[in-house]
Symmetry: D2
Subunit: 136 residues, 4 copies
């Protein structure tokens, strides 16, 4: 089984809305920050990679369930874990957790599918071997 | 069959990312703007409603497929249509379309589930009758 | 005196924060939407222009005073007016207004300086004559 | 002289725009994250404070100069330092720095004025003594 990568994310004013809680669309940002840091931990820097390989990851599908709200100043723990990895796309399971009064609560859970495209034409292509190896 | 509500949304710099295309998480914002205007067209103003009823809609689940990218200055047509409406939640199908050179292309498609909560306690409740009637 | 361009902007959930009001940084987005529509009204489309001229506008300075808050569902009127226009940069005065109970109230006022750069090197350059003429 | 607080901020896709650089309005978010962590380092948690004191900080004025662009994956160092502190408002000087090839470059510099308001009425008030003491 693949290990689970974990990354801490603090909630600021910019993340909240007038309901007093985190605006739901922002969990996609939190998941992306954690994915980016997971890739970085494997030696993959996306900006450099775009220059070298001429390609980039794009998100092709997202499914998120919002179970419990986060609020200003909360410190979330956001995870990333591959559940499928093919030559053209990866699927990750990602979660946002909050620990309060000693209890760890799942706030949101998502499935994110990412594909690889040529960064000029945006046409789909094969994920570079260098990345697939790093993901093993 | 329920009619489809349509709302125009222009793409600005704020909506794009360094890939040169619209940042995928922003489609959730576009869908929400269209939902809000659809509710407004039915006589439902969410800010006023929060004051009167003490409750508000929250998004509990989103599923989005990103099929083709939008770019700066594009003018999208974003739709909203209810596919399920119960006493505790609504499900909408929402799409973002772009017409280029006379061809109408589907850019993104989403399923959005929204529930009703007390705006103080955030506990789920029944959607007010006034809203369910407006949605008929 | 230069005429004042006006553009309506509706406030959605995405624009607000947990203080129950519009997040102040978002006025820069509203000002930019109004500037973009003002340029469009003069026949200038920034995405096409970037392709044709190899250049783009960048913001080099912003000063904003936040006088009174906007809330969910408010409909603002956002203005754009040039106060300086040179060969290398433009300065605009921009305001956000709200009309409530027949009274028009100034919510925020900004000075925005924009310059022209080569979109590859990001080095400053002269604003294309085509744009300076359109701005006369 | 007041010490300068420093906070690291990483650039993600969400922060960039189609110009290939960080969207200028986002520096206001970065400055706010650094301010929030600076307050936290002094023992001030804004969410808790809002509950206890019934008040909150609001931003009343911002002035930012954008000197050099940041890009995806850059790691900025964002500073916060008070330059004025009165009973009704604080003024901070904030900067965003990037170190590349051993050289530290100033990317953006801002002056941010924050005031204190009652969180229900939004009327201005005096900054609580507890905060002014922590800021000494």
């Amino acid at each position: 089984m693949k290990p689970v990568y974990q990354f801490p994310i603090r909630i600021y004013w910019e993340d909240t809305d007038a309901g007093g809680i985190v605006f739901y669309a922002n969990y996609l940002k939190f998941f992306e920050r954690a994915r980016t840091e997971w890739l970085r931990s494997l030696g993959i820097e996306q900006h450099a990679l775009k220059g070298e390989s001429g390609g980039m990851f794009v998100v092709s599908e997202t499914q998120v369930k919002y179970l419990s709200p986060a609020r200003l100043d909360d410190l979330l723990e956001v995870t990333a874990q591959t559940t499928e990895s093919g030559r053209a796309s990866l699927v990750l399971m990602q979660q946002a957790w909050l620990t309060e009064n000693g209890q760890r609560k799942l706030l949101a859970e998502g499935m994110i599918r990412i594909g690889w495209v040529n960064s000029q034409t945006l046409k789909p292509g094969r994920i570079p071997a260098q990345i697939l190896e790093a993901l093993q």
